[in-house]
């Protein structure tokens, strides 16, 4: 299902062989989940009830399953962008802002771009493209800062995220921008709902299982990114610039071009993720639209250690966990904070497991 299954494995991924690489993360997740359940028991919530709520929310119904998969695509896209830029030794932590500007651009084009009458799916393709371009510009800006003045991209992408998040806030608060016309003082600070033609088509066409075309698109992009990284001169240039920018320069590989390509592509993936969230699920732009998806996608990218299948695995885990966690909170009254604690535990044990695997393999 992923790039790694297409012929040879990715060059940077197979640091460890399959057995411990699969077993250890599974054990880590099981351990963290066990500790989480213990915490739930300690605050007096019935553990079976909490588990039932989690399962129900994550994959208990076609609707829940679809919601989880849609979430996973968003995490995966941000994760792919992270992995691609990271191949050039760049750390894009700006997924959150890139999602936000992607959402703004998609909303603007969908609502006010006169696209809803266009044929051949252009009604939703153009808003998506707008989001991709907005994300690419957001990431590319950080790249230009880095190339021109050496600004560390960790700082610039992070700070650009805050700018993106507040731009979103501003655009849904201001009636001059995307806020829907105020008919009464109770009108919420959000955009109008986008026209139906601009919404992403559902795979089944059935709202009881609302997986949209973002999922297959994500899988195609997984293969594309995997092939780019492992088979093409582009992927090789990313790697060389990441490993030794000075030698790359001597060999005639442009540092500036490579950095700009890497970070704007990462940004484009963030923007696309924003488009999927808006055009595929939420349909109206609200304050808090990005709700931490960019940071979760970043964590998926980090945990994958540079492997596309790894990103997919981590994204599925996060997608289902988030859906299950929301339901656990609503149905079993497990506090949000505790759900976040459990997620954090899983991330830490997974990261620790990766270290453990490296040590184990190194001997």
């Amino acid at each position: 299902m992923t790039a790694a299954n297409q012929g040879r494995p990715l060059p940077a991924a197979p640091r460890f062989s399959l057995r411990p690489a699969l077993l250890v993360p599974v054990l880590a997740v099981a351990f963290a989940a066990g500790v989480g359940l213990l915490l739930i028991a300690m605050i007096g919530v019935s553990v079976p009830k909490a588990i039932a709520a989690f399962v129900e929310g994550a994959f208990g119904s076609p609707f829940a399953l679809a919601a989880s998969l849609n979430r996973s695509s968003v995490f995966a896209l941000v994760g792919f962008g992270f992995v691609l830029a990271n191949r050039a030794n760049l750390t894009n932590v700006g997924g959150e802002g890139q999602i936000a500007v992607g959402g703004i651009a998609a909303t603007a084009v969908a609502l006010y771009g006169h696209v809803s009458g266009l044929p051949l799916g252009l009604a939703f393709i153009l808003p998506t493209l707008a989001a991709v371009i907005a994300g690419a510009l957001w990431g590319g800006f950080a790249a230009v800062l880095k190339v021109k003045s050496g600004t560390n991209e960790v700082i610039s992408t992070l700070l650009l995220s805050f700018i993106g998040i507040w731009l979103l806030y501003w655009s849904v608060q201001s009636p001059l921008l995307l806020r829907k016309p105020m008919t009464s003082s109770a009108t919420l600070p959000e955009s109008l709902e986008i026209p139906e033609a601009t919404q992403l088509p559902l795979l089944t066409g059935d709202y009881s299982f609302p997986v949209h075309i973002g999922l297959p698109l994500t899988l195609v992009l997984a293969i594309v990114v995997g092939v780019i990284l492992s088979r093409t001169i582009l992927g090789f240039r990313l790697r060389v610039v990441g490993l030794n920018p000075v030698a790359a320069n001597r060999a005639g590989i442009s540092y500036a071009k490579t950095v700009i390509f890497a970070l704007s592509t990462a940004g484009a993936f963030g923007g696309l993720a924003g488009a999927l969230m808006l055009l595929g699920e939420q349909y109206t732009l609200k304050d808090g639209f990005s709700s931490g998806y960019g940071f979760d996608g970043l964590v998926a990218g980090l945990l994958s250690r540079g492997s596309i299948p790894g990103v997919i695995a981590a994204s599925l885990l996060f997608g289902f966990m988030r859906s299950g966690g929301i339901n656990m909170e609503m149905v079993a009254a497990v506090p949000t904070a505790l759900v976040a604690v459990i997620q954090g535990l899983i991330v830490i044990t997974l990261a620790g497991a990766a270290l453990f695997i490296e040590k184990w393999e190194g001997q």
Partner: protein
């Protein structure tokens, strides 16, 4: 032990440190296997071996950086297993490393005091101690000079004094002469003798035979992590020691490589003179480089290299060579001056354009500039020509590795195959790969090679020379930058000497001029 029967030495003193059957593994690789060695008080004991023979590992075991996996070390008769350098120091073992560990912004006294004193610093007391040591061993130093104002030789003196002030019983020097001027080397060897004469044991790691002839009481030869020979009469048995070091193949040794090692007196080998009349290839005109602080690093450097000529740039490191090669490689922009290759103006061109114009560059810092350790050997060999193996953006690795294999055979690059990681190659093979890449540029007309044999063993040195000579006989202009004067005297046709960024003088590469060139390297015009 094979090869050489140890001569009957004077009744052996009780060894200060003895190693028996010591083994050290890194993963599955045995860096040292069953090495046995005695170090006696009052002797200078040289450790001889090629790169990767395990010399540095041996030093690191003695100094406690690594712990042995097998065998026993005994120090003054008791089992010895230092837990780390601090432990070894406390027990009277001191080591001067290949790379200096001095704080440039601090004075000599402060560097000597570093890590030794707590609370209030007694600078005056330390300065007095320094002067005493300076007198005892012939190591003159100004205690209050700043490190960054000292020459390389003086900095090394500081390192040595830092060790001696601890009054060590065993004094280990790991390849200390690599960066020194000829007369600084003899001064250093003199210090070794004096330290030994005071009843201490000195371990000197080297691959220069001239030094062994001069200073060694005993020699132990390492090859592939094993002791393969030892001698108590090194000067008399030098040929056999060399044979042991390089596996009994002195005949195959390039005469010029042999002279670098001090095995033979320097003779100018030269090459078949190019048949055509002189044709200027590389013209460097008034090249000047000032750094960010406005310090002039390269001052009005003007030089012409003809086709089929090898011009050597001599000088102690740090006298502008790095700036010169960086500018020629397009990695640095000169403040003033012009560079032409034939009729093509290369001033201020990018590395890519310089490569395209037919200039091959072997950079002095191979790892920083010349290669990418984390990708394959094949990808490194074709690093600047990968577009030739690309179709529709896809890299044809099969074709790449096939072509790279051919070059590996031609340049005798030994590795596990073209697909192996570049970092898995030895330094010599890495250098041969970089040379292969630069020398096989399709339209090569000029080769700039900076310190091309640094850190290489005998066989690799010979290979590098023969490739450079072969390129030259094809009519390539070669600029060879080296801090090894013997290397330039044997390979080059003409030598210019750089001192503080200026050309101090130039002369034919005649071994009879060695003294004069040495003096120019030290800043005395001839």
């Amino acid at each position: 032990m094979i090869g050489i029967s140890p001569g009957l030495a004077a009744p052996a003193a009780e060894p200060l440190l003895s190693l028996s059957q010591v083994t050290k593994r890194f993963g599955s690789f045995a860096a040292l296997s069953e090495v046995s060695l005695d170090l006696r008080p009052g002797e200078v004991h040289c450790i001889l071996g090629e790169n990767g023979a395990g010399k540095s590992t041996l030093c690191n075991l003695i100094f406690g950086v690594h712990q042995p996996d097998g065998g026993v070390m005994r120090y003054r008769g008791t089992p010895f297993r230092p837990s780390g350098p601090a432990d070894a120091l406390a027990q009277g073992i001191a080591m001067v490393h290949q790379h200096f560990s001095l704080v440039g912004d601090m004075s000599v006294v402060d560097n000597v005091l570093l890590g030794r004193e707590r609370g209030v610093l007694n600078r005056k007391g330390c300065a007095r101690q320094l002067e005493k040591i300076a007198g005892d061993y012939g190591l003159p130093l100004d205690p209050f000079a700043k490190i960054e104002d000292l020459s390389v030789g003086e900095r090394q003196r500081v390192e040595i004094v830092k060790c001696l002030i601890r009054d060590p019983q065993l004094f280990v020097l790991d390849e200390p002469t690599a960066v020194l001027l000829p007369d600084e080397i003899s001064a250093l060897l003199d210090v070794c003798r004096r330290v030994a004469a005071s009843g201490r044991a000195v371990v000197l790691v080297t691959h220069k035979l001239a030094e062994i002839k001069k200073v060694a009481d005993r020699v132990t030869v390492l090859r592939s992590g094993r002791t393969v020979a030892s001698s108590s009469d090194p000067a008399g048995e030098i040929d056999a020691l060399v044979r042991a070091m390089i596996q009994g193949n002195v005949e195959a040794l390039d005469t010029s490589a042999a002279s670098i090692l001090g095995l033979e007196p320097v003779t100018h080998v030269g090459h078949a003179p190019a048949a055509t009349a002189r044709v200027e290839a590389l013209q460097i005109d008034g090249l000047t480089v000032r750094d960010h602080q406005g310090v002039t690093r390269l001052d009005n450097f003007t030089l012409t290299v003809d086709r089929g000529e090898i011009v050597g740039v001599a000088g102690v490191e740090g006298n502008g060579q790095s700036e010169l090669t960086a500018v020629l490689a397009g990695m640095m922009v000169a403040t003033e001056g012009r560079i032409h290759l034939g009729a093509t103006n290369l001033t201020g061109r990018s590395p890519k354009e310089i490569t395209a114009a037919g200039v091959g560059i072997v950079p002095e810092d191979r790892h920083a500039v010349g290669c990418v350790l984390g990708v394959s050997l094949a990808e490194n060999i074709y690093l600047n020509r990968l577009h030739e193996f690309t179709r529709f953006g896809f890299l044809n690795r099969a074709a790449l590795e096939r072509e790279a294999s051919a070059l590996m055979r031609r340049f005798d690059v030994r590795g596990r195959g073209p697909g192996s990681l570049f970092s898995s190659l030895s330094g010599g093979n890495q250098q041969k790969a970089v040379l292969a890449r630069e020398i096989t540029l399709p339209n090569l007309s000029c080769l700039v090679a900076a310190q091309p044999t640094r850190g290489l063993d005998v066989g690799a040195v010979a290979a590098v020379y023969s490739h450079i000579r072969e390129a030259c006989s094809r009519g390539i202009a070669v600029l060879l930058v080296s801090s090894e004067l013997d290397e330039l005297l044997t390979v080059a046709d003409r030598i210019v000497v750089l001192y503080r960024g200026r050309i101090m003088g130039s002369c034919p590469a005649d071994p009879a001029r060695k003294e004069a060139i040495g003096a120019m390297m030290a800043g005395q015009p001839q």
